[in-house]
């Protein structure tokens, strides 16, 4: 099939047509010739058969009366048939009775007696056997041998004629195919030519004329459309090329500019090197200055530490004073109540009674029993006694309250004293005690604002720490939580305080359900001067963080946002060494 690759469609189609026509005609030729041969043979055989039958019939008497001459003369009548080359008669006893040969130079043999009425083809000859019958009984056999040359010659002639006719038909078919094929191939050829010239000349404006709407028509149409697209793309490509050329030019220009700039840069670099050298020199002097400044800063830091410390103490003190103030308020109220009680006391009535009784001193008995006023005295005394008893009870109650409050004040003050003296001293501390003390200081406020306190204290070992510093932090955290809860609108005010161990550290966690902290604020929470509430001084948490750092701990804060509460965690190292650092 490789051979056909380079052959044009037209030729291929022609070849297909010719092959098919040739096949059909050849098949027809073969079939017809076979039929012709068979028919001719049959004709020959039936002709010979008739002749044979006649001769056989006529030979019956010859055989019956053993008349060889008559038999021979009978056989000689076969001369009129040119194809018959030999004939013979055999008797029933299988004896050769009579013979006939057209050409004595050729020897033929008479076949054995056989009563079968048959025909045998043997190469170029056909043998016909006819029984010689007398009253239905075979008395001999006639064999007629005919040459098939004549038949074959006729067949050959007819084959020649047929072949000529078929060849003529083939030629006509080929001619017609060639003519008709143009209908199919011409549009394709035209398409091919245009495609070729498009490829060679790169002329994308050529178009193929569409003459039909068959597959080729569709192909032509698609080809034209394709050319349209290619033309459009070609134009776009040319545009791009021009642009590219322009940009190449500008790139060249840029390159020269860059070169110029490079030179400038080099200059600059050398300049910069010089400056760097100067800078290095400057640096050396700067280091000295930095050292000076660092020293200054250290000193300043220490000063700030002092300020913070005193601020922390102030926090404690303010807490203490606040509580003391509150308690004092109660004391004041109790005192007022008692003063009012005393001012309104019925004890004066007792004086009036004494006066009345002194006036009637002489006949007191008569006065009490007969005088109208005197009669009222016992009743009056009884009433007075009752009133005085009540007054005394009230005063007792108020005095108890007063004593309690004073006791509370005493407690607060004594507690404050217990911390006051310990600043900077490390001692064994129980964290839960510290927390409880801090709560105690804030207790009044906590109660007033209806804050519920929950405590979860795990067992933690005693730690070695500056308990005053820790207390400051805890008071600050609790105080913050208290404020966050106070600001809250609803009454679900819960303060949870937890102490637990975590990875070598003790954690004091103070969690509130207060107003929460915005995410932005959390970042600035520990910065100096950051205030979240009115009246705050802005360094409570800052100081707490510093203090936590001083005791080797740290503070962490979490909040899910405004209104979602906040959690502060104070981490204190359990390890003595760390705590001591």
């Amino acid at each position: 099939m490789k051979l056909f690759r380079h052959i044009s469609i037209k030729t291929k189609l022609l070849m297909v047509y010719i092959t098919i026509t040739g096949l059909i005609l050849t098949s027809a030729f073969i079939i017809i010739m076979r039929m012709e041969a068979s028919t001719n043979r049959q004709n020959v055989v039936s002709g010979l058969s008739v002749v044979g039958e006649i001769v056989a019939d006529r030979s019956a008497a010859s055989v019956a009366f053993s008349d060889v001459e008559s038999a021979n003369s009978n056989l000689r009548t076969l001369r009129s048939h040119e194809s018959i080359v030999y004939a013979c008669i055999r008797t029933e006893a299988n004896e050769s009775f009579a013979q006939y040969t057209i050409d004595s130079s050729t020897q033929y043999s008479c076949d054995d007696f056989d009563i079968e009425n048959t025909t045998r083809f043997d190469g170029n000859y056909v043998d016909i056997y006819k029984p010689i019958l007398l009253e239905g009984q075979p008395i001999g056999m006639l064999q007629v041998k005919a040459s098939l040359d004549e038949l074959n010659k006729r067949l050959l002639d007819s084959a020649k004629l047929s072949f000529m006719i078929f060849t003529g038909l083939m030629l006509i078919a080929a001619f017609l195919s060639r003519k008709l094929m143009n209908l199919v191939t011409q549009p394709i050829t035209r398409l091919k030519d245009i495609a070729q010239s498009v490829t060679e000349k790169r002329n994308y404006d050529l178009r193929v004329e569409q003459v039909s709407s068959d597959e080729v028509g569709v192909l032509v149409n698609s080809f034209n459309k394709m050319l349209d697209q290619i033309a459009a793309r070609d134009r776009a490509l040319n545009n791009e090329k021009e642009k590219a050329e322009i940009s190449a030019l500008s790139a060249k220009r840029h390159a020269s500019e860059t070169e110029k700039m490079n030179a400038e840069l080099e200059k600059e670099i050398s300049e910069r090197l010089r400056v760097e050298k100067e800078l290095q020199e400057l640096n050396e002097t700067l280091e000295e200055k930095v050292q000076e400044r660092t020293l200054e800063l250290k000193q300043l830091n220490e000063k700030i530490g002092d300020i913070a410390r005193s601020a922390g103490m102030a926090e404690v003190a303010s807490g203490v004073l606040h509580n003391v103030g509150n308690v004092l308020n109660s004391v004041n109220v109790s005192a007022s109540v008692m003063r009012e009680q005393v001012r309104k006391s019925k004890a004066e009535n007792l004086g009036r009674l004494v006066n009345l009784m002194q006036k009637n001193q002489h006949d007191l008995a008569d006065f009490i029993s007969n005088d109208e006023k005197g009669k009222q005295i016992p009743k009056f005394i009884a009433l007075l006694a009752e009133q005085l008893t009540e007054e005394r009870n009230t005063l007792f109650r108020e005095l108890d309250e007063l004593a309690n409050n004073i006791d509370h004040i005493k407690n607060i003050i004594s507690m404050q004293q217990s911390y006051a003296g310990s600043y900077g001293v490390r001692e064994k501390v129980k964290l839960s005690d510290l927390v409880e003390d801090a709560l105690k200081i804030n207790l009044q406020e906590v109660n007033r604002h209806n804050i519920k306190v929950e405590r979860h204290y795990d067992e933690t070992p005693l730690i070695y720490a500056d308990k005053h510093k820790l207390l400051q932090i805890i008071i600050n955290l609790i105080s913050n939580a208290k404020y966050a809860l106070k600001e809250k609108a609803d009454n679900n005010r819960l303060l949870q305080i937890m102490i637990y161990k975590n990875d070598g550290e003790a954690v004091i966690e103070i969690r509130d359900t207060g107003i929460g902290i915005a995410q932005d604020d959390i970042q600035h929470l520990f910065e100096y001067g950051f205030k979240r509430r009115r009246g705050g001084h802005g360094f409570g948490l800052h100081h707490s963080a510093l203090v936590a750092n001083e005791v080797g701990g740290r503070i962490k804060v979490y909040s899910e946002g405004p209104g979602k509460g906040a959690t502060f965690q104070l981490f204190v190292p359990l390890d003595e060494k760390v705590a001591a650092a």
Partner: protein, 172 residues
Amino acid sequence: MVLVLAVSLTLGAAPHDSLADNNREYQLKAAYLLNFARFVYWPEQSFAADDSAFTICVYGDNPFDGALNSLSSKQINNRPIEIRFFEQGQTDAQCQIAFFPETAQAIYSSLKKQLPAHVLTVSEYDGFCEDGGMIEFIQVENKIRFEINLTSSTENGIKYRSQLLEVAERLR
């Protein structure tokens, strides 16, 4: 068939002794009689009845010496063959073939006028056909041939098939 076979077998053999010769001659003649019958168109009126036998009548002395016996097993026109022998000429016999041996010339002469039609007369004496006979055996080159008198045959209503006429040595 057996007869023909026998005839054929003996055809090539040269005759040596007269007895054998005589025997062979009559065997052939017997076969020929049968064959004559087969080459003759026999009309229905030749026979007395549909089932009548085909009768061969032999007049005078019987020269066949049993050669005719074999014929009795044959048939002609689907009729059995009957052989009848007559010492004297008898005209009332229903014969299809009347054979007159050499010695029966006188019988034929006395009988020939009275023979009914459709009787095929065969003889072996010389001049039989001249005498008004139909088929006469003749000897040609040591072969037995025969002569046919078509005129007398036609006169007596005997028609031969053409093959027989072709084979005949002479026609009169």
